[in-house]
């Protein structure tokens, strides 16, 4: 079984400030990790993913995340946020066992609402 915990339900920041959205996961098997963004009244859009290789991954819109296996974390960061980054952000994991019945199934965290103020 897997679980994902997003430590902050809401994060308010001012425009051009840096931001970090925290995500920790628990799993008995290896996982791949994802961050999705949901703008108001829209579906989920992939921001970035970690499958293997470099633990620092870069995504769209200037976001990046670092996979830390020892701390089972995958925190999302952006050095300077814009008003347009206001959205809800979801961390998610999936089982690396390709071909198993859980192939591709995502387990999500509770979401973090990022609000960027002018």
């Amino acid at each position: 079984a897997q679980s994902v915990t997003q430590l902050d339900s809401q994060v308010p920041v001012f425009e051009e400030a840096p931001v970090e959205l925290r995500c920790n996961y628990s799993s008995s098997v290896s996982v791949y990790l994802f961050w999705y963004v949901q703008y108001p009244n829209q579906g989920l859009q992939l921001l970035l993913k970690y499958l293997s290789g470099s633990t620092l991954v870069k995504g769209i819109n200037g976001f990046e995340a670092e996979f830390n296996k020892s701390q089972t974390s995958f925190h999302l960061r952006k050095p300077s946020v814009h008003i347009s980054d206001t959205a809800e952000y979801f961390c998610a994991v999936t089982n690396t066992n390709a071909g198993g019945t859980s192939y591709g199934k995502l387990t999500f965290g509770q979401g973090t609402i990022l609000t960027v103020h002018p």
């Binding site: 791949y32 579906g43 992939l46 499958l51 998610a92 591709g104 995502l106 999500f108």
Partner: protein, 114 residues
């Protein structure tokens, strides 16, 4: 860019009625999913579908729920007798086999059961 589409965007129904939520996944994708998000809660997995059969379902996906891929393009979720607690946003997602592991989500259908 190809996208997953869902209809309707909003469905209001009375308790006990049947509803069918429709999705058109990306055409070359082989794995299909339904998730739901109750207002203020996390996105939850409902069911995955591959090769014309359910590959996994959650405990939420009881006998009131069913999925179908009737014509090779549409992917539907049916709730046979809706309950108030079925009110949620329902997302369809599709996934191409390979190494990308990226699921593409539709915009969702907001189901309101009164």
């Amino acid at each position: 860019e190809p996208e997953v589409t869902q209809t309707p965007s909003h469905q209001v129904t009375q308790m006990g009625q049947e509803v069918i939520l429709r999705c058109v996944p990306i055409s070359n994708h082989l794995y299909f999913y339904w998730y739901r998000q109750i207002l203020g809660q996390k996105v939850e997995f409902l069911v995955s579908f591959y090769n014309n059969e359910i590959s996994e379902k959650s405990e939420i996906f009881d006998d009131q729920f069913s999925v179908e891929r009737p014509d090779g393009s549409n992917f539907t979720l049916k709730i046979r007798s809706t309950k108030l607690e079925d009110s949620a946003m329902y997302f369809c997602a599709s996934f191409e086999t390979g190494r990308s592991y990226e699921q593409y989500f539709g915009p969702g259908t907001r189901l309101t059961v009164t």
